[in-house]
Symmetry: C2
Subunit: 237 residues, 2 copies
DNA sequence: CGAAACCTTGACAATGTTCAATCACTGTGG
DNA sequence: CCACAGTGATTGAACATTGTCAAGGTTTCG
Protein backbone atom coordinates (compact mmCIF):
# COMPACT_ATOMS: atom_id res chain seq x y z
CA UNK A 1 0.00 0.00 0.00
CA UNK A 2 1.05 3.61 -0.54
CA UNK A 3 2.35 5.87 2.21
CA UNK A 4 0.21 8.72 0.89
CA UNK A 5 -2.91 6.81 1.82
CA UNK A 6 -1.89 6.61 5.46
CA UNK A 7 -0.70 10.15 5.67
CA UNK A 8 -4.20 11.30 4.88
CA UNK A 9 -5.52 9.39 7.89
CA UNK A 10 -5.58 11.66 10.91
CA UNK A 11 -4.29 8.95 13.19
CA UNK A 12 -1.11 8.56 11.13
CA UNK A 13 -0.83 12.10 9.80
CA UNK A 14 2.02 13.03 12.14
CA UNK A 15 3.91 9.76 11.86
CA UNK A 16 7.53 9.95 10.76
CA UNK A 17 8.44 8.97 7.18
CA UNK A 18 10.06 5.79 8.50
CA UNK A 19 6.95 4.86 10.43
CA UNK A 20 4.75 5.55 7.44
CA UNK A 21 6.93 3.39 5.31
CA UNK A 22 6.81 0.51 7.76
CA UNK A 23 3.07 0.91 8.14
CA UNK A 24 2.43 0.94 4.43
CA UNK A 25 4.64 -2.09 4.07
CA UNK A 26 2.95 -4.15 6.75
CA UNK A 27 -0.64 -3.03 6.33
CA UNK A 28 -3.00 -5.48 4.74
CA UNK A 29 -5.99 -3.97 3.04
CA UNK A 30 -9.01 -6.26 2.90
CA UNK A 31 -12.54 -6.33 1.56
CA UNK A 32 -15.14 -8.53 3.20
CA UNK A 33 -18.75 -9.13 2.46
CA UNK A 34 -21.45 -8.80 5.10
CA UNK A 35 -21.51 -11.44 7.80
CA UNK A 36 -17.86 -12.51 7.81
CA UNK A 37 -15.88 -13.21 10.96
CA UNK A 38 -12.89 -10.88 10.63
CA UNK A 39 -11.10 -11.68 13.88
CA UNK A 40 -11.42 -14.42 16.45
CA UNK A 41 -10.49 -13.78 20.05
CA UNK A 42 -6.93 -14.88 19.58
CA UNK A 43 -6.43 -12.75 16.48
CA UNK A 44 -7.92 -9.68 18.13
CA UNK A 45 -4.97 -9.67 20.52
CA UNK A 46 -2.47 -9.53 17.69
CA UNK A 47 -4.24 -7.21 15.33
CA UNK A 48 -4.74 -3.51 15.05
CA UNK A 49 -7.74 -2.99 12.79
CA UNK A 50 -8.69 0.23 11.03
CA UNK A 51 -12.04 0.65 9.29
CA UNK A 52 -11.93 2.39 5.92
CA UNK A 53 -15.56 1.74 5.14
CA UNK A 54 -18.58 -0.13 6.45
CA UNK A 55 -19.68 -1.38 9.84
CA UNK A 56 -18.06 -3.91 12.16
CA UNK A 57 -19.39 -5.50 15.32
CA UNK A 58 -17.00 -6.33 18.16
CA UNK A 59 -18.47 -8.85 20.54
CA UNK A 60 -17.91 -11.51 23.19
CA UNK A 61 -19.97 -14.18 24.86
CA UNK A 62 -21.08 -13.76 28.44
CA UNK A 63 -20.77 -16.54 30.97
CA UNK A 64 -24.37 -17.54 30.33
CA UNK A 65 -23.92 -17.77 26.58
CA UNK A 66 -25.45 -14.48 25.49
CA UNK A 67 -23.72 -12.29 22.93
CA UNK A 68 -22.41 -9.04 24.39
CA UNK A 69 -21.66 -6.13 22.07
CA UNK A 70 -18.29 -4.62 22.91
CA UNK A 71 -18.37 -1.90 20.27
CA UNK A 72 -19.60 -0.96 16.82
CA UNK A 73 -16.95 0.44 14.51
CA UNK A 74 -17.34 2.39 11.31
CA UNK A 75 -15.31 4.68 9.07
CA UNK A 76 -12.10 5.89 10.72
CA UNK A 77 -12.66 3.88 13.88
CA UNK A 78 -10.10 1.37 14.99
CA UNK A 79 -9.57 -1.30 17.58
CA UNK A 80 -6.63 -3.13 19.08
CA UNK A 81 -4.86 -0.30 20.88
CA UNK A 82 -5.78 -1.98 24.18
CA UNK A 83 -3.20 -4.64 23.49
CA UNK A 84 -0.29 -2.26 23.09
CA UNK A 85 0.40 -2.37 26.80
CA UNK A 86 -1.44 -5.34 28.22
CA UNK A 87 -2.55 -8.53 26.61
CA UNK A 88 -5.18 -10.13 28.77
CA UNK A 89 -7.32 -12.83 27.30
CA UNK A 90 -10.44 -11.51 28.97
CA UNK A 91 -10.08 -8.30 26.93
CA UNK A 92 -10.19 -10.09 23.60
CA UNK A 93 -13.20 -10.01 21.31
CA UNK A 94 -14.45 -11.26 18.00
CA UNK A 95 -15.02 -8.97 15.01
CA UNK A 96 -17.69 -9.52 12.40
CA UNK A 97 -18.64 -7.47 9.36
CA UNK A 98 -22.18 -6.12 9.53
CA UNK A 99 -22.08 -4.66 6.03
CA UNK A 100 -19.65 -4.86 3.16
CA UNK A 101 -16.44 -3.51 4.61
CA UNK A 102 -13.06 -2.24 3.65
CA UNK A 103 -10.38 -2.34 6.32
CA UNK A 104 -6.69 -2.62 6.86
CA UNK A 105 -4.82 -4.39 9.61
CA UNK A 106 -1.43 -4.09 11.23
CA UNK A 107 0.29 -6.51 13.57
CA UNK A 108 0.04 -5.25 17.15
CA UNK A 109 3.73 -5.98 17.57
CA UNK A 110 4.65 -3.56 14.79
CA UNK A 111 2.44 -0.80 16.08
CA UNK A 112 3.89 -1.34 19.52
CA UNK A 113 7.39 -0.89 18.13
CA UNK A 114 6.40 2.22 16.19
CA UNK A 115 4.58 3.81 19.10
CA UNK A 116 7.62 3.17 21.27
CA UNK A 117 9.91 4.98 18.88
CA UNK A 118 7.73 7.55 17.11
CA UNK A 119 6.66 10.18 19.56
CA UNK A 120 4.36 12.06 17.22
CA UNK A 121 2.58 8.91 16.22
CA UNK A 122 1.99 8.05 19.85
CA UNK A 123 0.54 11.50 20.46
CA UNK A 124 -1.91 11.08 17.59
CA UNK A 125 -2.91 7.75 19.00
CA UNK A 126 -3.40 9.23 22.44
CA UNK A 127 -5.58 11.94 20.99
CA UNK A 128 -7.72 9.38 19.26
CA UNK A 129 -8.04 7.29 22.42
CA UNK A 130 -9.15 10.33 24.38
CA UNK A 131 -11.85 11.04 21.84
CA UNK A 132 -13.03 7.48 22.14
CA UNK A 133 -13.04 7.84 25.88
CA UNK A 134 -15.28 10.85 25.65
CA UNK A 135 -17.74 8.98 23.50
CA UNK A 136 -17.82 6.16 26.06
CA UNK A 137 -18.56 8.66 28.83
CA UNK A 138 -21.43 10.07 26.83
CA UNK A 139 -22.71 6.56 26.19
CA UNK A 140 -22.72 5.91 29.95
CA UNK A 141 -24.61 9.10 30.63
CA UNK A 142 -27.19 8.18 28.03
CA UNK A 143 -27.69 4.69 29.37
CA UNK A 144 -28.35 5.99 32.85
CA UNK A 145 -30.53 8.96 31.94
CA UNK A 146 -32.42 8.30 28.74
CA UNK A 147 -35.39 6.01 28.23
CA UNK A 148 -35.76 3.68 25.26
CA UNK A 149 -37.35 6.24 22.94
CA UNK A 150 -34.72 8.83 23.72
CA UNK A 151 -31.85 6.42 23.18
CA UNK A 152 -33.21 5.53 19.77
CA UNK A 153 -33.77 9.17 18.87
CA UNK A 154 -30.28 10.01 20.06
CA UNK A 155 -28.82 7.32 17.85
CA UNK A 156 -30.68 8.69 14.84
CA UNK A 157 -29.53 12.22 15.53
CA UNK A 158 -25.91 11.13 15.63
CA UNK A 159 -26.07 9.51 12.23
CA UNK A 160 -25.80 12.89 10.54
CA UNK A 161 -23.86 15.85 11.83
CA UNK A 162 -25.75 18.51 9.88
CA UNK A 163 -29.11 17.32 11.10
CA UNK A 164 -30.12 20.38 13.08
CA UNK A 165 -30.02 22.70 10.09
CA UNK A 166 -32.13 20.56 7.79
CA UNK A 167 -35.76 19.74 7.30
CA UNK A 168 -37.16 16.43 6.26
CA UNK A 169 -34.04 14.38 6.82
CA UNK A 170 -33.97 10.91 5.35
CA UNK A 171 -31.89 8.25 7.06
CA UNK A 172 -31.19 4.58 6.68
CA UNK A 173 -30.43 2.47 9.74
CA UNK A 174 -26.85 1.28 9.31
CA UNK A 175 -27.53 -2.20 10.63
CA UNK A 176 -30.41 -4.39 11.66
CA UNK A 177 -32.77 -3.62 14.48
CA UNK A 178 -31.95 -6.59 16.68
CA UNK A 179 -28.33 -5.48 16.78
CA UNK A 180 -29.24 -1.85 17.25
CA UNK A 181 -31.50 -2.77 20.15
CA UNK A 182 -28.68 -4.65 21.81
CA UNK A 183 -26.30 -1.75 21.20
CA UNK A 184 -28.76 0.59 22.87
CA UNK A 185 -29.20 -1.72 25.83
CA UNK A 186 -32.73 -2.96 25.22
CA UNK A 187 -34.64 -5.97 23.88
CA UNK A 188 -35.74 -6.14 20.23
CA UNK A 189 -39.37 -6.05 21.31
CA UNK A 190 -38.77 -2.91 23.35
CA UNK A 191 -36.95 -1.37 20.40
CA UNK A 192 -39.80 -2.08 18.04
CA UNK A 193 -42.41 -0.58 20.34
CA UNK A 194 -40.25 2.39 21.36
CA UNK A 195 -39.47 3.30 17.76
CA UNK A 196 -43.09 3.33 16.76
CA UNK A 197 -44.00 5.34 19.85
CA UNK A 198 -41.20 7.79 19.10
CA UNK A 199 -42.29 8.20 15.52
CA UNK A 200 -45.78 9.16 16.69
CA UNK A 201 -44.39 11.55 19.28
CA UNK A 202 -41.81 13.31 17.12
CA UNK A 203 -43.24 13.06 13.61
CA UNK A 204 -40.91 10.45 12.15
CA UNK A 205 -41.88 8.33 9.22
CA UNK A 206 -40.59 4.79 9.51
CA UNK A 207 -40.49 2.40 6.59
CA UNK A 208 -38.46 -0.64 7.58
CA UNK A 209 -34.88 0.58 7.75
CA UNK A 210 -35.70 3.94 6.17
CA UNK A 211 -36.54 6.77 8.53
CA UNK A 212 -37.65 10.29 7.68
CA UNK A 213 -37.38 13.04 10.27
CA UNK A 214 -39.71 15.84 9.30
CA UNK A 215 -38.72 18.17 12.10
CA UNK A 216 -35.29 17.52 13.61
CA UNK A 217 -35.67 20.25 16.22
CA UNK A 218 -38.69 18.55 17.69
CA UNK A 219 -36.71 15.33 17.99
CA UNK A 220 -33.70 17.09 19.48
CA UNK A 221 -35.89 18.77 22.04
CA UNK A 222 -37.36 15.50 23.22
CA UNK A 223 -34.17 13.45 23.08
CA UNK A 224 -31.68 15.83 24.64
CA UNK A 225 -33.75 17.29 27.45
CA UNK A 226 -32.04 15.56 30.38
CA UNK A 227 -28.54 15.40 28.95
CA UNK A 228 -25.52 17.32 30.23
CA UNK A 229 -24.18 17.74 26.69
CA UNK A 230 -25.22 20.39 24.21
CA UNK A 231 -26.78 19.04 21.08
CA UNK A 232 -24.51 17.90 18.46
CA UNK A 233 -22.86 15.97 21.25
CA UNK A 234 -19.76 13.95 20.71
CA UNK A 235 -19.51 13.94 16.94
CA UNK A 236 -16.14 12.50 16.28
CA UNK A 237 -13.52 14.45 14.41
CA UNK B 1 7.47 18.68 46.61
CA UNK B 2 10.09 15.97 46.20
CA UNK B 3 10.80 14.21 42.93
CA UNK B 4 10.96 10.85 44.74
CA UNK B 5 7.30 11.14 45.59
CA UNK B 6 6.34 11.37 41.91
CA UNK B 7 8.71 8.68 40.79
CA UNK B 8 6.81 6.22 42.97
CA UNK B 9 3.61 7.04 41.14
CA UNK B 10 3.15 4.65 38.24
CA UNK B 11 1.95 7.39 35.94
CA UNK B 12 5.19 9.32 36.35
CA UNK B 13 7.55 6.44 36.99
CA UNK B 14 9.09 6.56 33.52
CA UNK B 15 9.29 10.32 33.27
CA UNK B 16 12.68 11.84 32.57
CA UNK B 17 14.59 13.52 35.42
CA UNK B 18 13.90 16.90 33.87
CA UNK B 19 10.20 16.18 33.68
CA UNK B 20 10.14 14.96 37.24
CA UNK B 21 11.86 18.07 38.38
CA UNK B 22 9.42 20.32 36.59
CA UNK B 23 6.53 18.31 37.92
CA UNK B 24 7.72 18.42 41.49
CA UNK B 25 8.30 22.11 41.13
CA UNK B 26 4.88 22.93 39.76
CA UNK B 27 2.75 20.43 41.66
CA UNK B 28 0.59 21.80 44.41
CA UNK B 29 -0.32 19.35 47.10
CA UNK B 30 -3.58 20.10 48.87
CA UNK B 31 -5.74 18.81 51.68
CA UNK B 32 -9.46 19.47 51.69
CA UNK B 33 -12.19 18.56 54.07
CA UNK B 34 -15.35 16.81 52.94
CA UNK B 35 -17.76 18.83 50.86
CA UNK B 36 -15.40 21.35 49.29
CA UNK B 37 -15.61 22.50 45.69
CA UNK B 38 -12.13 21.72 44.36
CA UNK B 39 -12.55 22.85 40.76
CA UNK B 40 -15.16 24.86 38.95
CA UNK B 41 -15.80 24.28 35.26
CA UNK B 42 -13.30 26.87 34.18
CA UNK B 43 -10.56 25.52 36.43
CA UNK B 44 -11.15 21.93 35.33
CA UNK B 45 -9.96 22.94 31.86
CA UNK B 46 -6.66 24.21 33.20
CA UNK B 47 -5.95 21.64 35.85
CA UNK B 48 -4.62 18.13 35.90
CA UNK B 49 -5.70 16.63 39.21
CA UNK B 50 -4.25 13.53 40.83
CA UNK B 51 -5.86 11.90 43.88
CA UNK B 52 -3.49 10.77 46.61
CA UNK B 53 -6.25 9.87 49.02
CA UNK B 54 -10.00 10.10 49.44
CA UNK B 55 -12.95 10.38 47.08
CA UNK B 56 -13.83 13.09 44.59
CA UNK B 57 -17.00 13.59 42.59
CA UNK B 58 -16.79 15.04 39.08
CA UNK B 59 -20.12 16.39 37.93
CA UNK B 60 -22.05 18.71 35.63
CA UNK B 61 -25.55 20.05 35.42
CA UNK B 62 -27.86 18.80 32.71
CA UNK B 63 -30.00 21.14 30.66
CA UNK B 64 -32.94 20.57 32.99
CA UNK B 65 -30.94 21.36 36.10
CA UNK B 66 -30.23 17.87 37.39
CA UNK B 67 -26.78 16.94 38.61
CA UNK B 68 -25.03 14.43 36.37
CA UNK B 69 -22.13 12.41 37.75
CA UNK B 70 -19.25 12.42 35.29
CA UNK B 71 -16.92 10.23 37.35
CA UNK B 72 -15.90 9.25 40.85
CA UNK B 73 -12.17 9.42 41.52
CA UNK B 74 -10.17 7.86 44.32
CA UNK B 75 -6.58 6.92 45.12
CA UNK B 76 -4.33 7.03 42.04
CA UNK B 77 -7.06 8.23 39.75
CA UNK B 78 -6.68 11.46 37.86
CA UNK B 79 -8.59 13.81 35.63
CA UNK B 80 -7.78 16.53 33.16
CA UNK B 81 -6.00 14.55 30.44
CA UNK B 82 -8.94 15.30 28.15
CA UNK B 83 -7.78 18.88 27.88
CA UNK B 84 -4.30 18.04 26.64
CA UNK B 85 -5.53 18.02 23.05
CA UNK B 86 -8.88 19.73 22.97
CA UNK B 87 -10.37 22.28 25.26
CA UNK B 88 -14.09 22.34 24.74
CA UNK B 89 -16.25 24.02 27.31
CA UNK B 90 -18.87 21.27 27.14
CA UNK B 91 -16.27 18.79 28.40
CA UNK B 92 -15.61 20.72 31.58
CA UNK B 93 -16.87 19.61 34.97
CA UNK B 94 -16.87 20.54 38.61
CA UNK B 95 -14.97 18.60 41.23
CA UNK B 96 -16.09 18.24 44.83
CA UNK B 97 -14.55 16.34 47.74
CA UNK B 98 -16.78 13.58 49.06
CA UNK B 99 -14.48 12.71 51.93
CA UNK B 100 -11.36 14.26 53.38
CA UNK B 101 -8.95 14.28 50.48
CA UNK B 102 -5.32 14.71 49.63
CA UNK B 103 -4.51 15.64 46.05
CA UNK B 104 -2.02 17.41 43.91
CA UNK B 105 -2.59 19.49 40.82
CA UNK B 106 -0.55 20.50 37.81
CA UNK B 107 -1.32 23.16 35.23
CA UNK B 108 -2.62 21.52 32.06
CA UNK B 109 -0.26 23.71 30.08
CA UNK B 110 2.77 22.25 31.83
CA UNK B 111 1.65 18.67 31.41
CA UNK B 112 0.99 19.42 27.77
CA UNK B 113 4.53 20.65 27.33
CA UNK B 114 5.99 17.68 29.14
CA UNK B 115 3.93 15.15 27.22
CA UNK B 116 5.01 16.79 24.00
CA UNK B 117 8.67 16.42 24.86
CA UNK B 118 8.91 13.39 27.14
CA UNK B 119 8.09 10.28 25.18
CA UNK B 120 8.18 7.85 28.09
CA UNK B 121 5.90 10.02 30.14
CA UNK B 122 3.41 10.13 27.28
CA UNK B 123 3.48 6.35 27.03
CA UNK B 124 2.71 5.98 30.73
CA UNK B 125 -0.15 8.38 30.33
CA UNK B 126 -1.48 6.47 27.33
CA UNK B 127 -1.35 3.27 29.32
CA UNK B 128 -3.31 4.84 32.12
CA UNK B 129 -5.90 6.22 29.70
CA UNK B 130 -6.35 2.80 28.14
CA UNK B 131 -6.99 1.27 31.55
CA UNK B 132 -9.57 3.92 32.22
CA UNK B 133 -11.15 3.18 28.87
CA UNK B 134 -11.48 -0.46 29.79
CA UNK B 135 -13.20 0.40 33.02
CA UNK B 136 -15.66 2.60 31.10
CA UNK B 137 -16.44 -0.26 28.73
CA UNK B 138 -17.13 -2.55 31.65
CA UNK B 139 -19.35 0.12 33.18
CA UNK B 140 -21.36 0.28 29.95
CA UNK B 141 -21.77 -3.47 29.86
CA UNK B 142 -22.97 -3.46 33.46
CA UNK B 143 -25.49 -0.71 32.87
CA UNK B 144 -27.03 -2.55 29.95
CA UNK B 145 -27.00 -6.07 31.42
CA UNK B 146 -27.31 -5.93 35.20
CA UNK B 147 -30.37 -5.09 37.25
CA UNK B 148 -30.28 -2.83 40.31
CA UNK B 149 -29.37 -5.59 42.80
CA UNK B 150 -26.55 -6.82 40.61
CA UNK B 151 -25.12 -3.36 40.04
CA UNK B 152 -25.01 -2.77 43.77
CA UNK B 153 -23.44 -6.17 44.43
CA UNK B 154 -20.92 -5.54 41.69
CA UNK B 155 -19.92 -2.26 43.26
CA UNK B 156 -19.40 -3.94 46.62
CA UNK B 157 -17.29 -6.67 45.09
CA UNK B 158 -14.99 -4.14 43.46
CA UNK B 159 -14.27 -2.37 46.71
CA UNK B 160 -11.84 -5.09 47.73
CA UNK B 161 -9.62 -7.02 45.37
CA UNK B 162 -9.04 -10.01 47.65
CA UNK B 163 -12.70 -10.53 48.23
CA UNK B 164 -13.09 -13.91 46.60
CA UNK B 165 -10.64 -15.61 48.96
CA UNK B 166 -12.17 -14.35 52.19
CA UNK B 167 -15.13 -15.14 54.37
CA UNK B 168 -17.15 -12.64 56.31
CA UNK B 169 -15.86 -9.54 54.62
CA UNK B 170 -16.64 -6.23 56.25
CA UNK B 171 -16.96 -3.15 54.08
CA UNK B 172 -17.84 0.47 54.50
CA UNK B 173 -19.57 2.34 51.70
CA UNK B 174 -17.11 5.01 50.56
CA UNK B 175 -19.76 7.67 50.07
CA UNK B 176 -23.40 8.25 50.72
CA UNK B 177 -26.20 6.21 49.22
CA UNK B 178 -27.86 8.97 47.23
CA UNK B 179 -24.61 9.53 45.38
CA UNK B 180 -23.95 5.84 45.00
CA UNK B 181 -27.43 5.35 43.57
CA UNK B 182 -26.83 8.06 41.01
CA UNK B 183 -23.45 6.59 40.15
CA UNK B 184 -25.11 3.24 39.55
CA UNK B 185 -27.81 4.77 37.38
CA UNK B 186 -30.82 4.41 39.67
CA UNK B 187 -32.99 6.40 42.08
CA UNK B 188 -32.21 6.52 45.80
CA UNK B 189 -35.49 4.72 46.53
CA UNK B 190 -34.60 1.97 44.12
CA UNK B 191 -31.17 1.72 45.69
CA UNK B 192 -32.60 1.37 49.16
CA UNK B 193 -35.03 -1.35 48.17
CA UNK B 194 -32.56 -3.19 45.98
CA UNK B 195 -29.89 -3.25 48.67
CA UNK B 196 -32.24 -4.75 51.21
CA UNK B 197 -33.49 -7.27 48.67
CA UNK B 198 -29.91 -8.16 47.78
CA UNK B 199 -28.95 -8.59 51.40
CA UNK B 200 -31.76 -11.09 51.86
CA UNK B 201 -30.84 -12.92 48.68
CA UNK B 202 -27.08 -13.14 49.22
CA UNK B 203 -26.70 -13.10 52.99
CA UNK B 204 -25.34 -9.63 53.51
CA UNK B 205 -25.68 -7.80 56.76
CA UNK B 206 -26.34 -4.11 56.32
CA UNK B 207 -25.96 -1.59 59.10
CA UNK B 208 -26.15 1.90 57.63
CA UNK B 209 -22.92 2.33 55.69
CA UNK B 210 -21.38 -0.86 57.09
CA UNK B 211 -21.89 -4.02 55.09
CA UNK B 212 -20.82 -7.55 55.95
CA UNK B 213 -20.62 -10.18 53.25
CA UNK B 214 -20.76 -13.57 54.86
CA UNK B 215 -20.28 -15.57 51.68
CA UNK B 216 -18.59 -13.67 48.82
CA UNK B 217 -18.91 -16.58 46.41
CA UNK B 218 -22.67 -16.54 46.69
CA UNK B 219 -22.67 -12.85 45.89
CA UNK B 220 -20.25 -13.29 42.98
CA UNK B 221 -22.39 -16.02 41.54
CA UNK B 222 -25.49 -13.86 41.55
CA UNK B 223 -23.84 -10.63 40.43
CA UNK B 224 -21.59 -11.85 37.65
CA UNK B 225 -23.85 -14.36 35.96
CA UNK B 226 -24.62 -12.42 32.77
CA UNK B 227 -21.29 -10.61 32.45
CA UNK B 228 -18.72 -11.15 29.71
CA UNK B 229 -15.89 -10.58 32.17
CA UNK B 230 -14.39 -13.11 34.54
CA UNK B 231 -14.78 -12.22 38.16
CA UNK B 232 -12.29 -9.92 39.56
CA UNK B 233 -13.09 -7.83 36.56
CA UNK B 234 -11.32 -4.61 35.85
CA UNK B 235 -9.39 -4.08 39.04
CA UNK B 236 -7.11 -1.22 38.28
CA UNK B 237 -3.46 -0.91 39.05
C1' DC C 1 -38.84 -23.91 -2.06
C1' DG C 2 -37.72 -24.04 2.72
C1' DA C 3 -35.02 -22.80 6.70
C1' DA C 4 -33.40 -19.27 9.33
C1' DA C 5 -33.18 -14.80 10.78
C1' DC C 6 -35.57 -10.56 11.39
C1' DC C 7 -39.41 -7.96 12.97
C1' DT C 8 -43.77 -6.99 15.07
C1' DT C 9 -47.65 -7.54 18.28
C1' DG C 10 -50.38 -9.02 22.39
C1' DA C 11 -50.74 -10.45 27.10
C1' DC C 12 -48.56 -10.50 31.18
C1' DA C 13 -44.64 -10.29 34.64
C1' DA C 14 -40.81 -7.99 36.53
C1' DT C 15 -38.41 -4.00 37.39
C1' DG C 16 -37.81 0.73 38.27
C1' DT C 17 -39.79 5.55 39.10
C1' DT C 18 -42.59 8.98 41.28
C1' DC C 19 -44.75 11.12 45.02
C1' DA C 20 -45.75 11.60 49.68
C1' DA C 21 -44.92 10.56 54.41
C1' DT C 22 -41.84 9.61 58.03
C1' DC C 23 -37.60 9.20 60.75
C1' DA C 24 -32.77 9.85 61.97
C1' DC C 25 -28.87 12.72 61.98
C1' DT C 26 -26.14 17.07 61.57
C1' DG C 27 -24.92 21.49 61.92
C1' DT C 28 -26.51 26.43 62.72
C1' DG C 29 -28.16 30.32 65.00
C1' DG C 30 -30.76 32.19 68.70
C1' DC D 1 -28.56 24.24 75.22
C1' DC D 2 -32.52 23.72 72.27
C1' DA D 3 -35.21 24.53 68.11
C1' DC D 4 -35.12 24.04 63.56
C1' DA D 5 -33.82 23.50 58.81
C1' DG D 6 -31.64 20.60 55.68
C1' DT D 7 -29.93 16.30 54.11
C1' DG D 8 -29.93 11.44 53.93
C1' DA D 9 -32.47 7.30 54.20
C1' DT D 10 -36.46 4.28 54.19
C1' DT D 11 -41.17 2.79 53.08
C1' DG D 12 -45.89 2.34 50.81
C1' DA D 13 -48.90 2.91 46.94
C1' DA D 14 -49.72 4.06 42.30
C1' DC D 15 -47.77 4.22 38.05
C1' DA D 16 -44.53 3.84 33.97
C1' DT D 17 -41.22 1.35 31.64
C1' DT D 18 -39.06 -2.56 30.16
C1' DG D 19 -38.62 -7.60 29.79
C1' DT D 20 -40.53 -12.26 28.75
C1' DC D 21 -43.04 -15.55 26.26
C1' DA D 22 -45.68 -16.97 22.51
C1' DA D 23 -47.43 -16.38 17.97
C1' DG D 24 -47.35 -14.95 13.37
C1' DG D 25 -45.76 -12.18 9.40
C1' DT D 26 -41.76 -10.84 6.46
C1' DT D 27 -37.41 -11.00 4.41
C1' DT D 28 -33.22 -13.25 2.96
C1' DC D 29 -30.50 -16.55 1.06
C1' DG D 30 -28.83 -21.00 -0.24
Amino acid sequence: MQTGFFQKIKLFSQASPTSLQQISHAAKKRLYKKGTIILDRYQSQQTFLYVINGWIKLFRESSDGEEVIVDMLTQNHHCGATFLFESKEEDTYMAKSISEIEIFTLPTTLLKRLVASDHNLSLCLMHSILQKQKSLSVHIEHLSIQNAMQRIGCFLLRLRSDIQFQKNIKLRLPYDKVLLASRLGMRPETFSRALSKLSRKCDLHVDNELIAISCPLKLIQYVCQHCSQIFPCNLEG
